[in-house]
Symmetry: D2
Subunit: 151 residues, 4 copies
Amino acid sequence: MTVRRPQVSVIGSGSRHEATALEVGRLLAERGCVVITGGLDEVMAWALRGAREAGGTTIAIVPGELHADANEWADHVVVTGIGHARNLAVAASGDAVVAVGGSWGTLAEIAFAMRLGRPVVVLEGGPAVEGVPRAASPAEAVDLVLEAIAR
Amino acid sequence: MTVRRPQVSVIGSGSRHEATALEVGRLLAERGCVVITGGLDEVMAWALRGAREAGGTTIAIVPGELHADANEWADHVVVTGIGHARNLAVAASGDAVVAVGGSWGTLAEIAFAMRLGRPVVVLEGGPAVEGVPRAASPAEAVDLVLEAIAR
Amino acid sequence: MTVRRPQVSVIGSGSRHEATALEVGRLLAERGCVVITGGLDEVMAWALRGAREAGGTTIAIVPGELHADANEWADHVVVTGIGHARNLAVAASGDAVVAVGGSWGTLAEIAFAMRLGRPVVVLEGGPAVEGVPRAASPAEAVDLVLEAIAR
Amino acid sequence: MTVRRPQVSVIGSGSRHEATALEVGRLLAERGCVVITGGLDEVMAWALRGAREAGGTTIAIVPGELHADANEWADHVVVTGIGHARNLAVAASGDAVVAVGGSWGTLAEIAFAMRLGRPVVVLEGGPAVEGVPRAASPAEAVDLVLEAIAR
């Protein structure tokens, strides 16, 4: 049988973090990871774009009821229909989670990921949460989550 | 028609915060609020107990599939069956939210409440979250949330 | 301690079923039940109105993110934010369920209630589902669900 | 950009329907569809197996909190943590839905799919629901859903 590829959820928001998200997505795809996001704009779009452009596989988990809610970089669209509660699915679906920027929704996802024991790394510029490791660069963040998944 | 009474969700966890939760529940009930929690143990139980003992009305919003999952202080039990995603319903159902102690689940609830524009107050001892007001005592927390609801 | 009153969820839709819903709500309240609905219009409103007018307690479990989404007959509003997935909470929160009219959403609620082992009665005019008991009148439906709860 | 491949959710349960589910999964993959199921056993496993063995892509949307809850035929695992409410996500994520056998959970998924306007086809042996088209064979079911998606 095929071994399932590692899945990394990239969470966050903020247009000023898009270039960083692109880089995180690209690096994750280059390392063989499937990239998952909440499927909408900004960080959620650019992380998928980075992964797609690097030949990776991308999954959008959207809060609404339509496939068309997802950005164009999603290979597969999971339509949840459950609004902000889909943040739980985004956090839970990652074998690990990387936060790039972000606000309250991102904080909810970090909290759920920690609650469920998923490794989380927050890139500088993202929410400061006591007990959650931080990384100074996309490369460091990707290294950290891949090490965590390998353990 | 009857005017709906204010609903305040009390969130948090930790057995050392139970006496505080009891006091918060009592004060909210004395001020005419319906008290809502996630319906399980510790803070979720003692806040309902405080409200009940003061003659108030209490609602448990439980994550599992059984009414019996709720603690004995719940007048009404909302059985969601959606696991940690019920944290969204707990946060959203409050006209305001008070946090007493707590860990990752509480952080998720604070984040959702802020995302949805619900006034939140964290009692000292609860998670420190930038941008979220804090209170030094149950009385101060209850004053703050009732002022916020009145606005 | 106080014993929790029985909770009956009234589900359904269709403006031509409003008078029936009013009667079901009234009878349930007269028999001491708390009445729960999805909190919006038509059957969801009239069942709560019937219960309220009979002096009963009513709970709306709404799919959106606002308390104001609930109809005016709700004593308490549970705001889930999870869209159609709140149908699971409506079904699960009833110690028993009565269907009055209804379409696809109602069918989902009947299915969830059966899945979770909640007694269900469908009033004539509601969806025909193999294996689900039917009643010819509000009085018969209320008798059946109260007998089922008592068992 | 890449065009997203059609996604078809295969729902249902019952060990006697496994061979049919295998065939449905195989045919969908041969026609270029991504196959989605609830990710557990019986129909949910065999539909993914059929798709995988035909070289297709498979997605499991599981109700629990662990990737390991998914069967071995899932290429990608979406971990929702929301219990039976994940049935909404399974129904909504399909551009169309095929039911193979099934009980109450399947009925909830059919109802949600119809509510959201997703084309649904029930194979003979699955729940009879007024207004939902039926098919006599996997080939007919797959033809019907692909025609519906193309419209």
